[in-house]
């Protein structure tokens, strides 16, 4: 609307035509990004698995990534006993990162996580995993007791504490995991589109075209910022998955 500029409706920013298949099971750009991210994640695992004494190329990247996930995610939250979760955490981190980073790769420029389906699936996967891990560790009754009855609370207060614990553990956790990833990536995508549309609208032989550098600089700045966000959201999602699994399986109570 500014300067007679028409911003596309928000629903159009993430909607892509279906290449083939019907509406429910069709393949569009976002599905292709998922598949490509899966292939890239597999490539990291396969190419990083050479086990040479002096690492080169892909092995270097893979070893740095494993070290990062083990040291700053798993060891900090789950301790040494959580190291058996490394393959899951590593694939989760890489898959989310590759899905996110497509928001800044030229021509593609669409984060696959800006459609709710992928964050929803990943959040449900994490929810199922931490519950199954907790039930395996404590047994079904023991797990419910561990999750809903924190020790050291006066008996009467359990009337209040148990519903709160139930909502925060079983409902709010998956919901906030989903919304955090989805909303962050969608917000970044909208920011980039806004400044790109503004730059394109200012590309005119009118006097106000002299402010054109401002949105162009903003696009460049936010593209760099989006790379950081893509990494940070993958890190935060993996970190929270580790924290949830640890709190479901811990014994300190």
């Amino acid at each position: 609307m500014i300067l007679g500029l028409e911003f596309p409706p928000l629903g159009h920013l993430v909607a892509w035509p279906t290449f083939f298949g019907d509406d429910t099971l069709g393949v569009n750009k976002v599905v292709l990004i998922y598949l490509f991210a899966v292939l890239l994640t597999m490539a990291v695992f396969i190419l990083g698995n050479k086990k040479r004494l002096v690492p080169t190329g892909m092995q270097n990247i893979a070893e740095t990534a494993v070290e990062f996930v083990e040291d700053s995610i798993i060891r900090q939250t789950m301790g040494t006993k959580g190291l058996s979760w490394t393959p899951f955490m590593l694939s989760l981190f890489f898959f989310i990162f590759f899905c996110n980073i497509f928001s800044v790769i030229p021509i593609i420029q669409m984060p696959a996580t800006a459609r709710i389906a992928l964050p929803l699936f990943l959040a449900v996967l994490t929810w199922v995993l931490f519950n199954v891990a907790g039930i395996k560790e404590h047994g079904p009754i023991g797990y419910l007791k561990h999750a809903l009855f924190p020790p050291g609370v006066p008996k009467a207060l359990y009337l209040l504490v148990v519903p709160i614990e139930f909502v925060s553990t079983f409902l709010v956790r998956p919901f906030s995991l989903m919304v955090r990833l989805f909303a962050n990536m969608l917000a970044g995508h909208i920011l980039l589109v806004t400044f790109a549309v503004l730059s394109a609208g200012l590309w005119t032989p009118k006097l106000y075209a002299i402010v054109l550098p401002l949105p162009v600089i903003a696009v460049i700045f936010f593209t760099a910022f989006e790379i950081l966000v893509a990494f940070l959201q993958a890190y935060v999602f993996t970190l929270l998955a580790a924290v949830y699994i640890d709190s479901a399986t811990s014994h300190e109570h």
């Binding site: 928000l10 700053s72 995610i73 919304v179 955090r180 909303a183 940070l232 935060v236 970190l239």
Partner: protein
Amino acid sequence: MLFAQAAEAAGITDTGLAAIGYGLGAIGPGIGIGYLVGQAVQAMARQPEAAGMVRTTMFLGIAFVEALALIGFVVFFLSQG
């Protein structure tokens, strides 16, 4: 869509209200994240050897506080219809 219908039923038709609502919703998390990161930086400056642990906990705290602002962001889009 849902919120837009509810707003219409209540006689509110100005979708700009959603933007004001989101702005109000972002105040709390803004203060929260600012305070949280400030305290974390102070902790890291006082005890550099604990920096790794403080950083992980800081990101965890940010993730929890930020969820509130992001829910506001999603509600904003829902109410836009």
